[in-house]
C-alpha cells in the first residue's frame, strides 16, 4: 500500500505541475504584461484612509 501511495504521489505531483505550467502559459499569452503587473501597493489605503485622528 505504501509503495502504491508513493507512486500516486509522483503521479499527482507531475499532473499538477503540468497543469500549473499550462495555465501559466495560457494566462501569459492571453493577457498583456501591463494588466498582469498592474497591482499597486496601498491602492485601497489611498482611497479609504484619510488619516484624520
Amino acid at each position: 500500500m505504501w509503495m502504491a501511495l508513493s507512486y500516486a504521489s509522483w503521479g499527482i505531483s507531475i499532473v499538477l505541475a503540468l497543469w500549473m505550467l499550462y495555465d501559466w502559459f495560457k494566462v501569459d499569452t492571453t493577457f498583456s504584461e501591463e494588466v498582469l503587473t498592474s497591482s499597486r501597493e496601498g491602492e485601497l489605503e489611498a482611497v479609504s484612509e484619510k488619516h484624520r485622528i
Partner: protein, 464 residues
C-alpha cells in the same frame, strides 16, 4: 493575442483579493508555527535538559509576545503584502527592506523545505517498508500545496484553518487523555525531572537551548503577509496574531508538560517525533494514530502557510522593482502572485532533495532571528518618526519601549546560542546578506522608481 481583462478591479488593473478574516490570519500564523510543537522544540532538551526546554518555552514566549505586539501595531498601519518588508521600506529605508524581504523568503522557504522533509520522513517511519524513500512524499507536499496557493488564497487558508485546528485539537485530546491532574498513573514528571537532572549542563545549557526554543513559535509573524488580502487589516491582523500567540503559548505548555512527563530528557532531546512518541507511550492505538496524522497535518499546514508568505514577499520585491517586475504579476482569475509561487517551487524542491533537515532548519531560524532583530529597531524608529497621534493606528502596543528592548536582548542571546551550535552557518549567512546588500546598493537600486515605492498616505516624519 492580447486582450483587456474584463472583471478588472480598478479599471484594467488586477490586484490581490481582499477576502480574508481574522480566522484566516489565525490559520496562517498558527498553521506555520504548530509543527514546532510536533518536532523541533524538543531538541532544546538535548542542549540543556527538560527544565531548560521549559524555561526557553516561557522566555522565548516573551520574545514572540513582543514580536506579536510590535508587529500588530506596525502592520495595522502599514497594511501591504510583504509584511515586514513593506514596514522596513517605509520606516527604515530601501536597503533594510531588501534585506528583510530576503530574510522572509529564506525563513519561509527553508521552513517549507523542513516541513516537507519531516512529512516524508514521518510517512517512511510509519510505513517501515524497505526501499520506500521520502522523495515522492516531499514532491507531492510541495507541488500540491503550491497548486493550492496558485488557485486562490481563500481556499488555501480555509484548508489551513481546518488542518491546523485538527492538529491543535489532537494536542488537547492527548493532554486530557493522560490525566494531567494526577502524577504516577501515566505522567511521571517528578521521576523524570529531578533536581539532579533538570539542568544537566547548568545555565549555559539554558542559553544553548534558545536555538531550538525558537521552534515553539517560529513563524507567527507570518500573519502580516496577509495584510493586503484581509478585509479589515486594522482589526483582523492584531486580532488574528494575538489570538494565534495565545493559542501557541497554551499548546507549547501542554506539549512540554506531557512530553517531559513521559520521556527522559536524553530521549526527548533526540527524537524527531515527541508528540507522536507520547501518543505511542500511552499504549492507545487511537492516540498513536491520531498523533501520527496530526504530525502530518501540522507539517502540511506549515508548508502551506510558508508558500503563501514567501510568494508574497517575493511578489512585493518585484512590484517595487527591487527584482524584475515580471515577478509582480497577479493571476487575473485566481488573484494570486502566481509567477512568484511558480518561481519558488523548484527552489524549494531542489533544497528539499539536496539539503538535510538540520541545515534547512538552521537557515530558517537564522533568517527569522535576523528579522526579529530588525523589528525591535523598526518599532523604535516608527514611534520616533510618527509618534502616537500623528497617524491612525489599528492597534497601539503598550509599555513601549519595553517590548522592543526585551526583543532585542533576547535576539542577542539567541544569536549567541546559534553561534554555539552553528557558528559557521551564522557567519556564512551574515556574509551572504552583506554581499547581496552590496549588489542591491551598487547595481539593482538604479532600476527602482524611488518615488513610487513609498505608498502610505502619511504626513512627513518628524525631523524630516
Amino acid at each position: 493575442m492580447t486582450v483587456t481583462l474584463e472583471p478588472a478591479v480598478h479599471g484594467d488593473r488586477v490586484s490581490l483579493l481582499r477576502v480574508l478574516g481574522p480566522a484566516h490570519v489565525w490559520a496562517l500564523g498558527v498553521g506555520i508555527v504548530l509543527v514546532g510543537e510536533f518536532t523541533g522544540w524538543n531538541f532544546a532538551a538535548d542542549k540543556g535538559g527538560a527544565l531548560a526546554a521549559l524555561i526557553v518555552c516561557w522566555v522565548v514566549g516573551l520574545l514572540y509576545t513582543s514580536v506579536a505586539m510590535i508587529d500588530s501595531e506596525v502592520t495595522s498601519t502599514v497594511a501591504a503584502a510583504g509584511g515586514q518588508y513593506a514596514q522596513a521600506k517605509h520606516i527604515v529605508g530601501p536597503l533594510m527592506a531588501f534585506n528583510v524581504a530576503l530574510f522572509l523568503v529564506f525563513a519561509y522557504t527553508m521552513l517549507e523545505v523542513s516541513d516537507a522533509i519531516l512529512l516524508g520522513d514521518t510517512i517512511v517511519a510509519k510505513a517501515g517498508v524497505e526501499g520506500l524513500t521520502h522523495n515522492s512524499f516531499i514532491a507531492a507536499t510541495i507541488v500540491v500545496l503550491a497548486w493550492l496557493n496558485y488557485r486562490g488564497v481563500l481556499m488555501t487558508l480555509n484548508v489551513n484553518f481546518v488542518i491546523t485546528a485538527i492538529a491543535y485539537i489532537s494536542i488537547v485530546i492527548l493532554f486530557f487523555s493522560v490525566s494531567p491532574w494526577t502524577q504516577g498513573a501515566v505522567l511521571k514528571l517528578n521521576e523524570l525531572v529531578t533536581p539532579g537532572n533538570a539542568l544537566p549542563y547548568g545555565w549555559i545549557g539554558v542559553i544553548a537551548a534558545f536555538q531550538f526554543g525558537i521552534w515553539y513559535y517560529l513563524g507567527i509573524e507570518g500573519t502580516t503577509q496577509a495584510a493586503e488580502e484581509v478585509r479589515s487589516p486594522a482589526r483582523s491582523l492584531p486580532y488574528g496574531t494575538m489570538a494565534g500567540m495565545i493559542t501557541l503559548l497554551i499548546a507549547a505548555a501542554m506539549t512540554w508538560y506531557v512530553c517531559a512527563s513521559m520521556m527522559p530528557w536524553e530521549y526527548l532531546g533526540i527524537t524527531y517525533y515527541p508528540l507522536w512518541d507520547a501518543g505511542k507511550l500511552t499504549g492507545s492505538p487511537l492516540l498513536e494514530n491520531l498523533l501520527f496524522i496530526a504530525t502530518l497535518l501540522a507539517a502540511l499546514a506549515s508548508a502551506n502557510g510558508c508558500i503563501n508568505d514567501a510568494a508574497r514577499a517575493w511578489f512585493s520585491l518585484g512590484r517595487d522593482r527591487y527584482l524584475p517586475t515580471w515577478f509582480s504579476a497577479v493571476h487575473p482569475k485566481y488573484r494570486t502572485p502566481y509567477r512568484s509561487i511558480l518561481f519558488l517551487l523548484p527552489i524549494a524542491l531542489a533544497f528539499a532533495f539536496i539539503a538535510d533537515l538540520n541545515q534547512a532548519i538552521t537557515f530558517s531560524i537564522l533568517s527569522g532571528v535576523l528579522q526579529y532583530t530588525f523589528m525591535s529597531i523598526n518599532i523604535v524608529m516608527f514611534r520616533k518618526k510618527w509618534p502616537l497621534g500623528s497617524i491612525r493606528r489599528g492597534y497601539t502596543h503598550p509599555f513601549h519601549p519595553l517590548p522592543a528592548i526585551v526583543l532585542f536582548c533576547l535576539c542577542v542571546v539567541t544569536f549567541f546560542a546559534i553561534f554555539l551550535g552553528f557558528g559557521s552557518q551564522l557567519i556564512a549567512m551574515v556574509a551572504f546578506y552583506f554581499l547581496i546588500s552590496l549588489w542591491f546598493h551598487f547595481y539593482r537600486y538604479r532600476f527602482v522608481r524611488r518615488g513610487d515605492q513609498f505608498t502610505m498616505p502619511w504626513p512627513k516624519p518628524q525631523g524630516y
